[in-house]
Symmetry: C2
Subunit: 364 residues, 2 copies
């Protein structure tokens, strides 16, 4: 077992690599390209494991993250975020080095880029299929046509439509995910039909981990861009995207006080370590992680009734069954399965494999 004295984000390399392989194989089987989102791990080391599996192109969520991975050997990068026109200088610099794709969702942004780009850049038009975060309503064909018209003959090269169906995160079952994805895939395919006469090579892309994990119908889709599946977590598990055994990270945390009278222990694990995400059970109780025991070479299944029930900046309060609070001692180390892996990884900024290798992430 590792020597743990402070909150440490453990990574089970075997599980993580199996998650990568499974998604890669699924993409191959469906003849879609896996262009994984690297926002979850933000780590050059873990990026290498994707490359070893055969991944050649990646997705990121900011110009800064694109710069980080471009500096680490990645040459095909999609920035899955409405383009920030204040960063055209950096986009120009990136596009000279890598095959770059951006999101272009408005004529206003297109006008700025058309003027300021010095090198060709491919773009997706982001489609809002119901999440109402960013993107264009698929029914708004004139808005899409307006952008396409404006970019003709410029350095901006239309590559297709991309959607992030964030509303699958509110699904409570694989069946619901299939229903939601059935609807958004229909909208994407209709767009392809509409525009493919003018743009025969246009592509369809989407990215949410619930859909990519659960559905088996990828007809007409060219690429998938999930990110979270590299680690998975309790949110994805609650949707039915993964089993608890497929969760590849676990936050190891020191016990600093034991309160048998209220069946609770306090651990060094606040929102600065795990993030602030929570789940609510069927009785309306909120919790911030499930508790596991650390074993000789990994971690156990969740301890029944073991939950993080309260979080502040550095304190976590854990509820445990009576027999456990009678056993746990100050100085023990417990494990926490993350509610939201992207958040926990981002907060910690570094991982340690079960073999003791430290893996760095992109600096904040």
């Amino acid at each position: 077992m590792l020597q743990i004295t402070r909150p440490t984000l453990l990574l089970d390399r075997t599980t993580c690599k199996a998650n990568i392989r499974k998604m890669f194989n699924k993409a191959e089987r469906h003849h879609v390209q896996l262009i994984p989102h690297f926002k979850t791990h933000q780590s050059a080391s873990i990026g290498k494991w994707f490359r070893e599996e055969g991944v050649k192109a990646i997705t990121v969520t900011s110009v800064k993250m694109a710069e980080y991975f471009a500096g680490r050997g990645w040459v095909d990068i999609t920035i899955a975020f409405p383009v920030n026109v204040l960063e055209t200088e950096q986009i120009n610099a990136l596009a000279e080095k890598v095959d770059l794709r951006i999101f272009l969702n408005s004529k206003e942004a297109a006008k700025v880029l058309k003027e300021q780009l010095r090198t060709p850049v491919k773009f997706y038009i982001e489609i809002d299929v119901g999440d109402h975060r960013s993107g264009i309503d698929p029914a708004n064909l004139s808005a899409i046509a307006g952008i396409l018209e404006l970019t003709k003959g410029s350095y901006l090269k239309f590559d297709g439509f991309y959607t992030h169906a964030g509303h699958t995160y509110s699904a409570a079952s694989p069946r619901e995910v299939e229903e939601i994805s059935g609807l958004f895939l229909k909208k994407l395919r209709a767009l392809k039909s509409h525009f493919r006469q003018t743009y025969p090579n246009l592509k369809l892309a989407f990215g949410d981990t619930p859909s990519c994990s659960i559905i088996e119908d990828f007809e007409g889709i060219d690429s998938i861009h999930p990110g979270n599946f590299v680690y998975y977590d309790l949110v994805q598990n609650s949707i039915g995207a993964n089993t608890l055994e497929e969760i590849a990270i676990c936050l190891a945390v020191p016990v600093v006080s034991v309160h048998p009278e209220r069946q609770e222990v306090v651990v060094h694990s606040g929102w600065v370590h795990q993030g602030k995400d929570s789940l609510t059970d069927s009785e309306g109780n909120t919790y911030f992680g499930l508790v596991v025991s650390l074993t000789e070479d990994s971690w156990s299944a969740p301890i029944p009734g073991g939950r993080v029930i309260k979080l502040s900046q550095e304190h976590g309060v854990i509820s445990l069954p009576q027999e456990m609070t009678d056993q746990v001692k100050v100085g023990d180390v417990l494990g926490i399965l993350p509610v939201h892996a992207c958040a926990t990884a981002f907060m910690m900024g570094e991982l340690e494999t079960l073999e003791g290798e430290k893996l760095q992430m992109m600096p904040r």
Copy 2:
């Protein structure tokens, strides 16, 4: 005005220094020592502003943070967190360099430290005055006496009682904060009376920003340890601890898309930038920050109706009045007043003053 192209945490130095001075003067007036909590800013540069005001001792929330500030000239440090007995090695090293205070809340922790300490360390016993996070129930005099008995003749030197009344954060008015603090101060004073025959120099300490900002009765108290007041925020404002003008930080964020049809704009400001804290208004609407305009040399009062209503990893969705969504353009920069300043500062990890000076924080 600064050239902003990416999310940037702006710091109004004048407001920040005024917050520090006001709290320092209040402490002087009440003859209590201000031993500010540095977990909010985690910055050596801002630490200097406290020193310039006359502050000599500081509070932190982890051994790691104590190490950071001990390496930057601070020689009197209180670690306001139940001691982690897995870090006795680091505590020994720190105690050789600085005047160190820790929290000792159990006989179990006391036994480990008694064995492993190689140099004197002062300790507070943390008192749980109703927040039920960590600490000992003030009615449990035998638990307190047990720790004191065990530490006699050891390197562990009893210094007094410390409490964090985290439940003032649920107060909705200064009056409520005064009621809560009235109750917990009574408990602390009773403890002092009880133990001062044996420990005539024992001290009383507490730390929450709402109490320290609002109350005027500090009788019997030796030191106060607030942290958040250095920046203040919307949570503290909702309690009545500060005015909106006293908020010293503002997150400057680029507009990446405008949706006049739903009176919303999307900005580059996700939970990786601002944190995930929210407030709920009287109608039950949740929001993640108030929106301001950036001015030539600072920022405006909140735009009526301007709120961050949705957050994901890097996207923020802002609701604005119709007349504003008609004006705002892609490439504009808006400002967000933070719901929880500790979180926003931690997420950003760096600040920029209105004069353009970059201030670093402790590395993650």
